[in-house]
């Protein structure tokens, strides 16, 4: 009998808990977005909501305003890290997103606080320009102004950052581990490095006869369609060879990107 009421109270409690770590981010005209204090003095938000050459201010849940500056950006994950002195605001309780399962009840929150509830609909979503495994697809409504806000579990722990800029087709959140990785890059080096090879690629399916001739089990490969001059790919003879042959039997597009990112998953 009380289970549903307990769940309702838990959800409301989670909103109250998380709203203490949230800010309204004024980094674009009109509609403010949402940010989360990930580490003391570092606030994470959606990159597309913080315009270049614009003064950024944060408004806390108690109405206080703080000046902020952009400490790092990762446009491909649509995450910006802001630096701000926000006394009296604690850093978010970030959960291990490895525990997240498809079907879990989650909430997306926006500054205010505002809430939207739904379930995790898919894990390890990675399409287009995004690194595989950095996105969680969610079945909930991301309302205007939610971008950069936290995706939270029923205990009120942050498991990701929601942004409409992550995918054109899905409601998505950037996994907390990916966000933490970017924030730690900012702490260490003051910038978010990205891998850069300098090739344009096209994924293709390997026909069966070709797989047999090459003695490979893999279903797909990538064609190098373009090599940018003065890029790392243009520097080595292997890069030129694969460009000349026009076909390279490698792994699929995602794993190529992951290999470029290095064995630890860091992008260098």
């Amino acid at each position: 009998m009380t289970t549903v009421m307990d769940l309702s109270n838990a959800l409301a409690g989670a909103v109250e808990r998380v709203s203490g770590w949230m800010f309204a981010v004024h980094g674009r005209p009109r509609l403010p977005s949402t940010g989360v204090q990930w580490r003391t003095g570092l606030v994470v938000t959606a990159n597309h909501t913080v315009e270049h050459d614009r003064e950024v201010t944060l408004t806390g849940h108690d109405g206080r305003s703080f000046a902020a500056s952009v400490a790092g950006r990762d446009p491909s994950l649509d995450i910006a890290v802001l630096r701000a002195v926000v006394d009296g605001v604690s850093a978010a309780d970030v959960a291990d997103d490895g525990d997240v399962r498809v079907g879990h009840l989650v909430m997306a929150l926006g500054a205010g606080p505002r809430a939207s509830a739904g379930i995790v609909s898919a894990l390890d979503v990675g399409r287009g320009r995004h690194a595989a495994g950095d996105l969680i697809a969610v079945d909930l409504t991301l309302y205007p102004g939610f971008s950069g806000g936290p995706l939270v579990d029923v205990r009120g722990r942050v498991i990701g950052i929601t942004t409409s800029g992550a995918s054109r087709h899905l409601q998505c959140a950037i996994r907390a581990t990916a966000v933490t990785r970017l924030v730690e890059h900012v702490i260490r080096g003051g910038r978010i490095p990205r891998a850069y090879l300098g090739v344009g690629t096209q994924p293709v399916e390997l026909p069966h006869p070709l797989r047999e001739r090459l003695g490979r089990a893999q279903q797909t490969a990538i064609i190098v369609v373009h090599v940018k001059s003065d890029s790392p790919a243009a520097g080595g003879s292997r890069g030129r060879a694969s460009a000349r042959s026009g076909r390279r039997s490698g792994h699929d597009d995602h794993s190529a990107r992951r290999r470029a990112a290095g064995p630890s998953g860091d992008r260098r």
Binding site: T3, V4, S8, L11, E16, R114, A115, S116, A117
Partner: protein, 195 residues
């Protein structure tokens, strides 16, 4: 919301409060009107609904037991979008009322109404925000609950089955409900001025 449909299967409590709410959710049919709106059985002889739902001084009220009775307007406030109607005592227990001032963002809520004519349909979600829809406007309960035409005038209730709001409009995909304490003040002043 699919998560809550799953919750309803495993936890019979939600189904039970839905049954209670169906008893106090009435249909409102205005003379000459083609659509059906919703209303809340406030007292054994009083029904409250949105003013935009019940046009005219005499409307038809459909009860959950399929009875249709005639309702006469006590008072309507177009600005508040509220209307109070008197009905013959119907013998059905009226709605249990909650306190909309203690509602919290994130709390689970359910809405009952007749969306697109589907009678006494339950939809569920959470409280999205509390406050005005635009700066300086009146206070609403904003709920992340799917509504459609036919929900207007119907109850928004908490997980105890207590009515906390009256679903009034849809804005930006959100349900906007008049807090039930505001509805209570309207009914109190309406009944005080007419007795």
């Amino acid at each position: 919301m699919s998560a809550l449909l799953a919750a309803e299967e495993s936890i019979p409590h939600l189904a039970r409060i839905a049954d209670q709410l169906r008893q106090v959710t009435v249909e409102i049919r205005s003379p000459g009107g083609s659509g059906v709106g919703a209303g809340i059985l406030w007292a054994p002889d009083l029904v409250v609904t949105n003013a935009h739902v019940a046009r005219g001084s005499c409307v038809g009220v459909g009860l959950a037991d399929e009875r249709w009775i005639e309702a006469h307007l006590v008072v309507a406030d177009r600005r508040m979008d509220l209307a109070l109607f008197r009905i013959p005592r119907c013998g059905v227990a009226p709605a249990a009322l909650g306190d909309s001032d203690t509602l919290r963002v994130g709390a689970l809520v359910v809405a009952l109404g007749h969306p697109l004519g589907l009678r006494r349909t339950l939809t569920a979600g959470v409280v999205h925000a509390l406050g005005p829809a635009r700066p300086g406007g009146r206070r609403f309960i904003h709920a992340d609950v799917r509504l459609a035409p036919g929900n207007s005038g119907g109850p928004l209730a908490d997980t105890a089955g207590q009515v906390v709001g009256m679903n009034t409009m849809i804005a930006g995909g959100l349900a906007l409900a008049i807090p039930i304490n505001d509805v209570g003040r309207f009914v109190a002043s309406a009944t005080a001025s007419t007795t």
